[in-house]
Each structure stands twice: as structure tokens, then as C-alpha cells.
Point group: C2
Chain length 193, copies 2
Amino acid sequence: MTTGIEAYLHTHTRLSDEEIARIALAATPRSLRRNELLLQEGQICRHKAFVVKGLLRNFGVVADGSEHILQFSPEDTWTLDAESYDRSTPSAFNIAAIEPSELLLWTRPVFNRLLEEIPELHALSLQLISRNGYNSRQRLFAALSATPEEKYNGFVRDCPDLVSRLPLHMIAAYLGISLKTLTRIRHAQWQQR
Amino acid sequence: MTTGIEAYLHTHTRLSDEEIARIALAATPRSLRRNELLLQEGQICRHKAFVVKGLLRNFGVVADGSEHILQFSPEDTWTLDAESYDRSTPSAFNIAAIEPSELLLWTRPVFNRLLEEIPELHALSLQLISRNGYNSRQRLFAALSATPEEKYNGFVRDCPDLVSRLPLHMIAAYLGISLKTLTRIRHAQWQQR
């Protein structure tokens, strides 16, 4: 179960085997069934989670009951609600498993101790925070400026592996377009082949 | 000219007078005329900028020539293209003055030296990076989920000071709605008063 994080840290950092083992051993494993929530709106996000296996989504629900997806988190990525985690405030968002998933969780005190003890983990953590910032900006710009076709084509280009793993209504909820529009786009592209 | 940053740092940090003076003295002042560019798409963003006076916008332009605004930067805020600055890659966005503006600029080597020498500036910097991340997420969620009316009302609630300083077409370009829709919303609200 800890093998996933060890391979990931070997690939993305120059941490020693001893440091990697220390990070892995500080985590608590957690399994989620399909549709099970890791974080519910209104709760405080108390863990940083690494996805060893499976696929999750971060999403919000608005007054009319519709769901809007901020992020998908497949294997070898991290998930949390950063604002709720950093500030210990109730989260405005939910995190749920789309597929049966295996996670590793670190509480904030445990992870902060690791950050203090292991400078290279600190550097990785800053890199991830910055990269999330760049991604959110890119996604915001696409949301403001792109046509539905451009949004869908961008998603297929950037996340080809996810397209076949996700139900269409979730792709639509991620792109901010209606299921009807998404179906029309895919149908038109299919006919052009 | 440096007074703005000194007052800002006194309010937002517990830096000593000596440290604050060191940060202020390391900056280069720059004035921008209305519509003058601080950063042009394709250039590398080489400075962190603090807005002492005035108002700027970060925006991108798409193939049809339309402009979409990521961020407004009034007095006492920072502006840069973080991805271009961090990675020394050509920026996908522009930064321009909406009003005549007075800025302080730090190059990356200069700012990085200050970050190393002054841990509390480092802490402030991380806080700002995190807060930008939260804001981008909130804005992304609004872009995905909110109606045009909700977007406009949210902007009036969160940035009341900016509403009267901005031309309508820029508010529309920031909210991701058409000028026609924005005009209709404002007209309807005016009639309800």
C-alpha cells in the first residue's frame, strides 16, 4: 500500500530511502468505496491525501442541486481542500471517490512535522502548491474564454486517460457545459471521423 | 513612493523597521500610463510588482481578439504572472494599467535574496501564494456554477470599490459574461430600486 508513495517520491524528489520510508510510515491507509466521501461540505479538511489507486473528484453543489467539479484526482496525485486544511475552516467543497480508491492520509500536525524535518519534502510541497495555482488559473481562463468545443478538446488533450474512466455527466460538470452540449460535440466529432 | 509598501508591510507582518526599509530599498519604482503594459504575452515575467497607486489588470486575448480578465490589482496588492516568473517561461497573459499607476518592482534574484534573508517575508510570500490559490478556486467555481446575476452580485459584494472605477466591458470580461448581459442585469437592478 505504501509502495505507491515510495515510487512517486523516488520519481519526483531526491529524498533518501530512509526519508521516504519515514514519510510513508507516518501515513494512515484508507480505502473508499465508489461514491464514498472523503470530505463533506461543512467539515474541516484534516488530511492531505495521496491517491495510490483509484480516482476522486473535488466538487461543490449549488442551491439548485447541481454539481460542479473543480478537480479530478487519479493515482499518483494529491487531494485536499487547501483552504479548509490550511485555515481549519469548514470546507465549501466535497471530495468523493469515483472509483474504489486506496489513499494514504497524513494529518496536519504529522505532515507539518515531516515538512520541518525534511527540507526536500517542503520544496516538493511548495512546488505542488504553485502548480495547483497555475492549473487553477489556466482552468479559470479556459472557463472565461473557451468555447464548449475548445474546453472538451483541451480536456481530451490534457487528460486522455481520464476520458474513458469518467461518466459523461462528470466531464460536463468539470467543463462547465451542459450534458446536452457535450453529447452534441462528441456526436459531431464522431461523425467527422 | 516607498511609503506604500512600508505601511503595507507594517500592517500585514511583524517585520522590523530595518527589514522593511531593506525590502523597500531593494525595489525599483516604475510609473505606468493608462493602458501601458507591464507584461506582454510572450515575454518572461521578470518582476514581482507591488501596486502603490493605481489599478492594473491581468488578461489574456484569444484568437477572435476578445480579452478575458483573470485579476484586477488595485493599491496595496501584488501582481505578476506567477508561472512565467517561477519558471522563466514566456507568459500566456498580459498585465496593463487601467489607471495611471505607481509600482515597485523586484527582480527575481533580488526578491529571492530577500526571501532567504528575511524569514517573515518568506512566510508572507507563502501566505500570498496560498491565498491566490484559494481565490482562483473560488473564481473557478463561480465561473462553473454561478448565473450571470450571481457573478455580478458577488463582484459588487466582494469588490465594491472597484465597480465604480472600471468600465463595464472590463467587468464583463472579468465575470465571463457578455456586455449585453451585464447591461441587462444592471438595468433590471436599477429599475427594482
